[in-house]
Each structure stands twice: as structure tokens, then as C-alpha cells.
Symmetry: C2
Subunit: 397 residues, 2 copies
């Protein structure tokens, strides 16, 4: 068995054990095609490393009379402590997981302002991860890795933020700033990608290898899962669904360009139109507009309805490009329910290429910031697993 | 070594040999991490099967004095004969390759009509593949596989045509019809996917694992390569770039929907507008419109210019979604040069998410139908290789 085969074997077996929760050695061999002898060798290494543990099998043993209890392997929860954080406009949400992915603690903290210097935000995060760890009697340094989801344009592989609404500056090597401050491994990604990760790991994307997640908050985000992996593009600015154009030289977007989907469906877009229809009331809130639409205000209804049609058109474009099995519309806030409405989905279905086969399934998943944070933690868990295996390659050989 | 490991090993080594052209056994082991002993066993099987052959190494042998000439392994060209066909509006183009991918012969035939019954088109193809094989003194039955590219909506994995402009009926299990008539394995795909395959195998996509091909003929097509594989979607109707919407309730498209990109950039779209500007001259041709635009006709210039802006907007949407390393604009006909124009590409660059990093590279690749046919043959080659390996699994064990 060559070195690379051994490393691949460790990765495959650890992932297979994680997938099944509990699994006997013999099934590992059958499921992966790795020989029984090699499974025995590699699982012994993983046991010694403390990444997995043996537990008495829960399945009844036909050969119980032999007196040897059947043994399953499982991930050792205590092996590592993992944190995830989602940085929002005015809050940071955090989740603490063990190595099995079990939720140990969580935390939601208000931010005193929406935009930070990178170093300042790193200090805030360091304090919050310490607080989170303290909830189970641990310290920041006991955490093996932190996943961080941030809005904006993020090159995850480089840990680089091209631009984020949470940071004062463009072009920040933010992962390094975080690692310098927290002194633990940090894994940074665009927040919509981490929603996709959450859906894949423990949400509605479980068991699907290819699907699209569309997130709606104050902006419109997208996560693309292809072949069980998050597709991130070359420079970290793929999946920018909110800035795909739905109108040539259309409405002005916050990004400075014209005709972006966000310029028609985001909260500020609805308010911009409501101001025209409602006179000079600049203090009008989105939920007032939505309420007015429901209670028969024609102008408000027209504003909300067009947002829905534009959103349907954007979604149809995604379907025409990806032809996905599943689209998950994920969002926290009830205020965007008009975009998830059945007639919006129905308009999308009419705007895609028509074949005599059912269109992609569309599911709506309303969830809170803590689920985003759990997605960030799942991302960290994946990377911490990889670090643990690399560590083994270095010293076990 | 388990059965599945042996099969994986065969696939990895055959692919590695194909990639390198000529390679010594020792490098196969180093490149793939497969042990020297296993490389020896598996390459012996591939040699017995006739899929590869030994040749004297071209690299000078430092140990030549030992008197044992150094040996490389290469794909055995004579192992299989592969054909590819591209079905166009009025022509079928065909290419014949050997198992190494060397071009042996080609053929272009006029079609007497643009739309066929499936069985009729299969008969036409059978005759043409026979003619093609006859060019090197072979018969249809000597061909190990035929790749077929056809316009329309094709589920490649099922060999099923949801719809094609070349077929009278919708919902045709066209691969089975072809296999019944030709009595050889047939691999069917959307023609734009086969352009992507051609670009990947021997065109501008070589060495790129992720890129997008946009094809412009009378319609607008797209091929998506992600992780070295063509991404085809779930039902075979992904990558429908021409039917992504660029205008809410916009111009009527041939597909019956409104606002599709094609309804603004295809030849019929330009003619529709030219008819309005030029009076009732229904016989006007696209090249007349393009010529008029160049020579100062304001209406013609406006028509062509808007097509370019709509195309740029569509391309920008693709970049905002995929953030690809490379976009290849591939088309046969010079008549679409206005869409490849530098100011169109420049408009696209201004319409994508702006970061302080260079935008994706855009290259223009003008080629003929024979290149599309070669892509179809490359697709068949990939599948015939797989069939050969599966055959080995059955009888070598």
C-alpha cells in the first residue's frame, strides 16, 4: 500500500464512518471496496489518533452465543471542538459542535455597529468564541477550528475578502487577520455558501449531490452544490445571483450597476418604489408596503407583484442554466414571503424550458441565523477533519 | 487488491497513459500513487487486451549500455475505431478517429431536408458512417462507437431527445433508434456539450478543468465544464443559455416564451427588427443588415448594437454565476462576428461584479462543423474506453 493510497484510505473510511454514524468494520470494507486487512490497519490508526472510537453494536448479534459482543466504529465526538460564526448586519451568531457534529452550545450577540475594521471585528469574534467555549467550560484555545460566514465577495480558498458590507476596507486577507488574533485555524466563506453547506450537511440538501440554494435577506445570495461539493468559481465571485441582470440598463443597484435582480427584489428596491407611490415618506418600512399590498393598495400591490415576477424570472434563469434536481429557497425573515409565494414559483415554472417531465422541486426553508452559524461550523468541521488526517500523514506516515 | 480497486486502477492507468501519449511504467506509478507491482499487473492486462502497446522510449536512456532498451507504454491506436457525427440544419459532418484519437477520415454530406422522422435520420446516419468507414477500407460494423451531436434538448445519460429541430416528434428515445439501426454503441448529446468536449479534448479548453463554452449558430448554446466533466443537469435541459430571460415579458422567442436571449441576438431576431425599419421586405438577409450597419444605416446599426448589448448582458450573467477562468466563444459562422466584437466583450466586463482582479479570459474560436463532429467522436472515444474497461472486468475479473 503506497503512501497516497493510505492517505486516501483514511479519508474514505473516516468519511464513511461519519456518514453512517455507527458502522461495523466489515461493512466499511464492503461499502468502500477497501480490503478487510487494510480497513483493520487504517481503523487502528484512526483509533490510536482518537478520531474514532469503538462502541458495542446496537444491532442484535446472531452469533451472540459466541460471547464476543459485536463492535461498531463511530466518530469520537470528544476528538475536536469546532465553532461556526455568521456575521450579519447587526448580529453575530455562533454555534459550537463536537467532532461528531453534535451541537454543544450557541450564542447570539448584538453588534454595536454594522461596519468594522478587520482587526476590530477579529477582536469581537475572539471574545465571542471565548464566551461560546466558556459555556461548556472550555477556552478559545480548546477550539480546533472556526468557520466564518460573511456577506460579500469572498475567495474562500484564499481566505480573502474582495468586498464585504461588514468591513470598512476592500481587499482584506481576512482569514489571516482572524487567525492572527484568535490563534486557531479559521475557514472563511461567503455566507450563502455556508447555507448551502448547512443544507447539505443537515438540512434539506441531505442525500442530494447537486442542488441550488437561494438565500434572501436584504440581498439575494446563492450557493451551488455540484457533485457533493460547493462550487465557488475561480476568483470567489461566482454565484452572484443577486447581481445577474434582469433588465438592460434597468434600475440602479446598490452595487452601482443597473438592472441587477437585487435592484428589483431587495427591501431597498421596494422602498424606492413605495416612496414614489406614497409621496415623500422616506421613513416607510418594507413590512408596511407588504401589508398595504395585502389590504388592497393598488400601488403597493403592483410594487410587490413586480418584485415577484422579477424574482421568478431570475429563478427561471438559474433553472435553465443548472437544471437542478432541487432548489432550496432559504431565508430567515418572514418579510420575504411574497417572493416564496406559490404564484411566484408557478411563474418560474412557466418561464423555464418546457419538456414533458416535472420541473425541479422547489422547497422553502425558513430558518434563523443560528442555522447559518451551524453551516459555518459544518464547513470548519470538514476542514478540521482534513487537518487531522494531514497531521496523521505527517507523524504516522 | 479488491475487484473495485483493480477496476479503478485500470481506469486511472489507461487515462494516465492517454494523457501522456507515451509514458514509462515507473512514471505511471509515481504519478498515480499506484504501487509498481500493481502497475505491472494492470498494464499486463491492458497489453493482453490490446488497448495499449509497448514502444521503444524516445527519451535517451542513461543506462543504455545495459543493452535493455527503455520501453514506454502508449494507447494502441488500432484497438478501436470511433466515429463522431454532428447533425446540423442542412448537413451532417462526420469524423473517424482511432483509439489514440488520431483523425483517420472525415465526411460532410448535404441533407435533403432539415427535419426527419427518427428512423429515417438513423438510416441516413447508418449510410454515412458506412461511407466514412469505407474511406479507410472498413465497414460500419468495424466501428466500436458513434458519438452524435444534435441541436435541442437532450438527456445524454438516457439518450433521450426531449425536443430537437432535426426531429419531427418530441420525446424520442433517439439513442435506441440509432443503435437498433446501426447495431453499434451510440452516445448522444446536445451539440453544444460536444463542442465543450472538443474544446476540452483538443481545443482551447485543454488544461482547464473549469470553463464555459458559448456557441453561436442560428441559436445560442452553452457547454459547462466543471471539474474536468461536462455538467449536464438533471433532466438534460441545463445550459440553456439562449433561453435565459434578459427582459421581463420581452420579445417573443421561437420557443414560444418571451424575453429569451435568443429573441434578441439570433438571426431571426435581427430580421424581425430589420423588417420594421426597412418596410415590408421580408426577403432581407442577416448579412444585409450587418452590412447596412457597417455602412452607416442608423436603424441597422441600432439593431445590431442592441443585439450586442443583450449578448453582453447574458454573458455577464454567466460570469456572475460561474466566475469561470475561461469563456470560449465558439461558432462557425462569420456572420456573428458582431457578437464577438471587442466592445461587446468590454460591455460584459463592465457588467460583472467588480473586484480588483482581472475578469475571466474570453477567447474566440471560429471553427467548422468538422470540429463539432470531432467533439462527438471524442465523446464516443471516452465512452468506448469505458466499455472496453467494463468488458475486461467481465472476463478478466
Amino acid at each position: 500500500m503506497s503512501e497516497s493510497q493510505r492517505e486516501i484510505g483514511r479519508r474514505v473510511l473516516l468519511s464513511e464512518i461519519r456518514k453512517h454514524g455507527r458502522i461495523p468494520r466489515i461493512n466499511l470494507s464492503e461499502n468502500t471496496g477497501i480490503s478487510r486487512a487494510t480497513v483493520t490497519t487504517i481503523t487502528a490508526e484512526l483509533l490510536r489518533e482518537g478520531l474514532i472510537e469503538e462502541v458495542t453494536s446496537e444491532t442484535p448479534d446472531k452469533d451472540a452465543r459466541r460471547g464476543r459482543p459485536k463492535v461498531d466504529l463511530k466518530i469520537c465526538g470528544a476528538a475536536r471542538l469546532i465553532a461556526g460564526a455568521k456575521i450579519s448586519n447587526r448580529t453575530i451568531s455562533l454555534e459550537l459542535l463536537d467532532f461528531e457534529g453534535t451541537q454543544l452550545a450557541n450564542l447570539e450577540a448584538e453588534l454595536e455597529k454594522p461596519v468594522f475594521e478587520a482587526e476590530e471585528l477579529a477582536q469581537v469574534l475572539a471574545g465571542l468564541v471565548s464566551q461560546l467555549a466558556a459555556k461548556i467550560g472550555k477556552n478559545l484555545k480548546d477550539v480546533s477550528g472556526l468557520g466564518v460566514g460573511i456577506a460579500g465577495i469572498v475567495d474562500a480558498s484564499e481566505g480573502f475578502v474582495h468586498w464585504s458590507p461588514s468591513l470598512t476596507k476592500r481587499n482584506v486577507q481576512f482569514r489571516d487577520v482572524l487567525q492572527d488574533t484568535l490563534a486557531i485555524p479559521v475557514f472563511l466563506d461567503n455566507d450563502a455558501n455556508l447555507v448551502a453547506m448547512a443544507e447539505k450537511s443537515f438540512g434539506l440538501g441531505q442525500g442530494h449531490s447537486d442542488f441550488i440554494v437561494v438565500t434572501i435577506e436584504s440581498g439575494v445570495g446563492m450557493g451551488i452544490v455540484i457533485g457533493d461539493e460547493i462550487y465557488r468559481g475561480t476568483r470567489g465571485c461566482g454565484a452572484e445571483f443577486g447581481h445577474t441582470k434582469v433588465q438592460l440598463e434597468g434600475a440602479l443597484c446598490r452595487c452601482g450597476q443597473r438592472g441587477c435582480l437585487e435592484a428589483y427584489v431587495a427591501d431597498y428596491a421596494l422602498l424606492r418604489e413605495a416612496m414614489i407611490a406614497g409621496g415623500a415618506r422616506a421613513d416607510r418600512q418594507v413590512d408596511e408596503v407588504l401589508e398595504a399590498a395585502k389590504t388592497g393598495d393598488a400601488a403597493a400591490a403592483s410594487i410587490v407583484e413586480r418584485a415577484g415576477r422579477m424574482f421568478a424570472m431570475g429563478l427561471a434563469n438559474i433553472v435553465n442554466i443548472f437544471d437542478p434536481e432541487l432548489i432550496i429557497l432559504a431565508g430567515e425573515q418572514m418579510q420575504f414571503s411574497h417572493l416564496y409565494a406559490e404564484d411566484v414559483i408557478q411563474t418560474m415554472r412557466k418561464s423555464i424550458v418546457q419538456i414533458d417531465k416535472a420541473p425541479p422541486e422547489v422547497v422553502i426553508h425558513k430558518w434563523g441565523n443560528l442555522m447559518w452559524a451551524r453551516g459555518a461550523a459544518a464547513y470548519a468541521l470538514e476542514n478540521v477533519s482534513e487537518l487531522a488526517l494531514q497531521g496523521m500523514a505527517d507523524h504516522v506516515g
